[in-house]
C-alpha cells in the first residue's frame, strides 16, 4: 500500500453524500465487559453535526460522553469495550461498517480528536516535531524536510512562539497551555472536517482556558469545521457552543440551542445542573446540590435513569421503557415525560 493513496481512497469512499449532515450518530450502544459486570456506557445516543457548527456534549464524569467520542473515532479498546448497536455516519457513510484500513484513514484526515491531559496524551520520548511530522510522512507521503517544515507552520498556526526552536523540544518542556496548543496543531495537521475535543481545557487554569477556547473558535471559523466539544463545565459551553446535548448515564436527555438550554431547560437534570452553579447575586444562600449520585454503569435504574434523584419523579418514570425524545420545539428534544412542567415552571 503506497503512502499517497490516502486521499484517493477517501474520495473513493462509496456513497459520500455531501448533502447529508457532516456527522451523525444514530442509536449508539457501547458496553464494557468488566470484572464487576457489564457496564452500559452508552445507551442509545443520537447526535447530529453540520459543517461550521459547534455541538457541546455536557455531562458529569462517567456519563458516557468520552466513550461516545472514542466510538466516533473508532479507538475504543476492544476488549473490553464493544459497540453493540448503532450507526456512525460521516456524510452518510456508516463508519462502523468500513474495513479497518479505510476507517483508519478517516481518522486524522477527516475526523480528528484532542484529549484532556496533553502531558499524558503526547508521547514523552519523542519530540513535538517528530509527533507532528509523522502525520505528514505517514498520511501524505511527504519527505522529512517537507514534513518538518509543515510542522513548524503548524506550531505557528496555534501561536506557539519560536516555533523553529521549539520543534525540537519534548512535551514535558512545554507549559500546560502550550501543550494543549500542540495537541490542537496535531489534530488540525491534515485539515480535518470534524474536530472532537474531549475536555480540552479541564486540566488548565482559567486564563489559559479562555485563550485555548478562543483559539479553537477562531480555527473553527477559518476552516468551517464541525466542532464537538465534550465538557462538564457549563461556563465553557456558553461561549463556544451553538447547540448542547446533555448526557446522563449513557443517554442524551436533552438537546437544544445554547440560549434555550440556559433560559428554559426542559429536563429536570439540566435544570438542577443550572441551579447548582454558584451565582454571585445569591451570595449567602445555601448551595444547591443534586441529591444522590450518578448510577453505576453496571446497574442503571429501569425507566428514566435519573428517577432516583429527580424532583419531578412519578411512577411512570420508574418503569421501562425509558422516556423517548419528546420534541419540544424544532431542533429541540427532551427525554422527560413531564418536560412541559419542567419548562413551564421557569
Amino acid at each position: 500500500m503506497t503512502k499517497t493513496d490516502v486521499t484517493a481512497s477517501i474520495d473513493a469512499l462509496p456513497d459520500l453524500d455531501h448533502s447529508a449532515p457532516l456527522l451523525q450518530v444514530k442509536d449508539l450502544h457501547v458496553e464494557f465487559r468488566t470484572r464487576n459486570g457489564l457496564a452500559h456506557a452508552v445507551n442509545g445516543v443520537n447526535l447530529s453535526l453540520q459543517a461550521g457548527e459547534s455541538l457541546a456534549i455536557l455531562g458529569e464524569s462517567g456519563c458516557g460522553k468520552s466513550v461516545t467520542a472514542q466510538a466516533i473515532m473508532g479507538i475504543i479498546d476492544s476488549p473490553p469495550g464493544y459497540i453493540t448497536q448503532g450507526e456512525i455516519l460521516y456524510r452518510g457513510v456508516d463508519l462502523l461498517k468500513l474495513p479497518e484500513a479505510q476507517r483508519r484513514k478517516v481518522r486524522a484526515n477527516k475526523i480528528a480528536m484532542i484529549f484532556q491531559d496533553a502531558l499524558s496524551a503526547l508521547n514523552p520520548v519523542f519530540t513535538v516535531g517528530f509527533q507532528l511530522a509523522e502525520l505528514f510522512r505517514k498520511h501524505r507521503g511527504m519527505s522529512r524536510q517537507e514534513s518538518r517544515q509543515r510542522a513548524i507552520e503548524l506550531l505557528d498556526l496555534v501561536k506557539i512562539p519560536a516555533a523553529k526552536q521549539r520543534i525540537n523540544d519534548y512535551p514535558h518542556q512545554f507549559s500546560g497551555g502550550m501543550r494543549q496548543r500542540v495537541m490542537i496543531a496535531m489534530a488540525l495537521a491534515l485539515d480535518p472536517e470534524v474536530l472532537v475535543a474531549d475536555e480540552p481545557t479541564t486540566a488548565l487554569d482559567v486564563t489559559v482556558q479562555a485563550q485555548i477556547m478562543a483559539l479553537l473558535a477562531e480555527l473553527q471559523r477559518e476552516r468551517n469545521m464541525g466542532l464537538i466539544l465534550i465538557t462538564h463545565d457549563m461556563g465553557v459551553v456558553a461561549d463556544v457552543a451553538d447547540r448542547i446535548s446533555v448526557m446522563y448515564a449513557g443517554r442524551v436527555i436533552e438537546e437544544a440551542g445554547v440560549h434555550d438550554i440556559y433560559s428554559t431547560p426542559a429536563h429536570p437534570y439540566t435544570k438542577a445542573l443550572l441551579q447548582s452553579i454558584p451565582r454571585i447575586d445569591l451570595k449567602g444562600q445555601e448551595l444547591h446540590v443534586i441529591k444522590g449520585l450518578p448510577p453505576a454503569l453496571t446497574d442503571i435504574p429501569a425507566g428514566c435513569s435519573f428517577n432516583p434523584r429527580c424532583g419531578y419523579v412519578q411512577d411512570v418514570c420508574r418503569a421501562d421503557p425509558p422516556p423517548p425524545r419528546y420534541p419540544v420545539a424544532p431542533g429541540r428534544t427532551s427525554a422527560c415525560h413531564f418536560w412541559k412542567e419542567v419548562k413551564g415552571d421557569e
Partner: protein, 336 residues
C-alpha cells in the same frame, strides 16, 4: 543533561571509595580478631618462615594497626587505595602471583559466557515479553507467564546440574555415538563442561544456563511494561492519528516500554559477571567465578577480596553507564 552527568559522577566517587572501605574494613576486622591468616593459608604444609614474612609484608598484614581490634586502619586503607589506583595492585595469591594476572587469565572465559547469556536473554526475553504483553490473557501469555515463573523458581545450580547431566552427558553421549554429526557440535556444544579444544562452542550451553533466570525476568519485565504502556493515553492519541497498528505498537509503545528493560539489561550485565560463579563451577569453566570459589574453599581471602573489589568497581561503572544511558532513552530525566 550536563548537570545530570556531573551529579551522577559526584555520586559515583564516594560510593566507589565507600565500597572499597567496606571491603577493607571486613578484611581488617577478620585479621584483628583471628590473627594473621597467612600462616593458616598453608594448611598442613610447612612453608619457610621467610616466605610467610614475605607474603605478610606484601599484603600489608604487618601493619601495627591490625593489632587493635575494631580500628578502621585508615592509613592502611590509604596505602591500599594507592596500590589499587596507582599500581593496579589488587593483592597476591598463595604462590605470590598477582591477582591482576589471575584475573587477566580468567576473564576471557567469563566474558564469553556473559556475552552468550546477555544476547540470549535480550533476544528471547524481549520477544517473549512483547508477544505475551500484546496478547494479554491469551494462551501465549499464559505460557510465558508460567514458564518464566518456573524458570525463576528453579535455583540456577539445579538448572545447571540438570542441563549438564541430561544435555551434556546423556544427550551428548548419544550425539557422540553418531558419526555424521560434526565434532564441533557433539563434542563442542554438547560437551558436559568447558573443553579447551572448543573454547567457544563448549561455552554456549553454560551461557544459556547463565542467562536463563535473567531471561525470565526480562520477559516478565517487558510483558508488564508493554501491558502498562498499551493502555497509556499517548497510545490512544497515536491511534486517533490514524497510524497503522504496527506503528502504534512498534514505534510508540515499544520505545516507551523498552526503557526499563534496557536499563535492567545493563544492570544485569554487571550482575551476570558475579553470577557466573555457579555456572562456572558446574561447567568447570576457568573463569573469574571459579577463581573466586576455589579461593574461597582454600581460604585465600586476599584473592577473594581482590577479585570482588575489582568486580565491584566494574559493577559501579556499569551502573553509572546505565544511568547515563537512561537519560538518553528517557528525555524526561535529562532535565531533572
Amino acid at each position: 543533561m550536563g548537570r545530570y552527568i556531573i551529579r551522577r559522577l559526584l555520586q559515583f566517587i564516594p560510593t566507589a571509595l565507600g565500597t572499597m572501605l567496606l571491603l577493607h574494613y571486613i578484611t581488617s576486622l577478620a585479621i584483628q580478631f583471628s590473627g594473621n591468616p597467612v600462616r593458616a593459608l598453608f594448611g598442613d604444609r610447612q612453608p619457610p618462615p621467610a616466605m610467610i614474612d614475605a607474603i605478610t609484608k606484601r599484603l600489608g598484614y604487618d601493619d601495627p594497626c591490625l593489632d587493635q581490634k575494631g580500628s578502621l586502619c585508615i592509613k592502611l586503607f590509604g596505602e591500599r587505595l594507592q596500590s589499587v589506583f596507582l599500581h593496579f595492585d589488587f593483592g597476591i595469591n598463595l604462590r605470590m602471583r598477582p591477582v591482576t594476572d589471575l584475573v587477566a587469565e580468567a576473564i576471557p572465559f567469563t566474558l564469553k559466557i556473559v556475552l552468550v547469556a546477555i544476547i540470549f536473554e535480550a533476544v528471547v526475553g524481549i520477544a517473549a515479553g512483547v508477544i505475551a504483553g500484546l496478547r494479554g490473557g491469551s494462551f501465549s501469555d499464559y505460557l510465558v507467564k508460567i514458564s518464566t515463573v518456573f524458570l525463576i523458581s528453579v535455583p540456577i545450580f539445579v538448572l545447571g546440574i540438570v542441563v549438564r547431566e541430561y544435555v551434556g552427558v546423556k544427550f551428548g553421549n548419544t550425539l557422540r555415538g553418531q558419526d555424521w554429526i560434526p565434532d564441533v557440535i557433539s563434542s563442542g556444544v554438547f560437551a558436559s563442561g568447558f573443553k579447551l579444544e572448543y573454547p567457544f562452542a563448549s561455552l554456549i550451553i553454560p551461557g544459556l544456563v547463565l542467562g536463563a533466570t535473567s531471561l525470565a525476568t526480562t520477559a516478565r519485565l517487558t510483558r508488564t511494561s508493554i501491558m502498562e504502556n498499551i493502555r497509556a493515553d499517548y497510545v490512544r492519541t497515536a491511534k486517533a492519528k490514524g497510524l497503522a497498528n504496527k506503528r502504534v505498537i512498534g514505534v510508540h509503545t515499544l520505545r516507551n516500554s523498552l526503557i526499563p528493560v534496557i536499563t535492567y539489561l545493563g544492570v544485569d550485565l554487571g550482575a551476570l559477571m558475579g553470577g557466573a560463579v555457579v555456572t562456572e563451577t558446574i561447567f568447570n569453566v576457568p573463569g573469574i567465578g571459579r577463581l573466586v570459589t576455589q579461593a574461597a574453599r582454600t581460604g585465600e581471602a586476599p584473592v577473594v577480596i581482590g577479585v570482588v573489589t575489582m568486580l565491584a568497581l566494574v559493577f559501579l561503572v556499569t551502573n553509572l553507564i546505565v544511568d547515563l544511558l537512561y537519560a538518553v532513552l528517557d528525555p524526561r530525566i535529562r532535565y531533572e
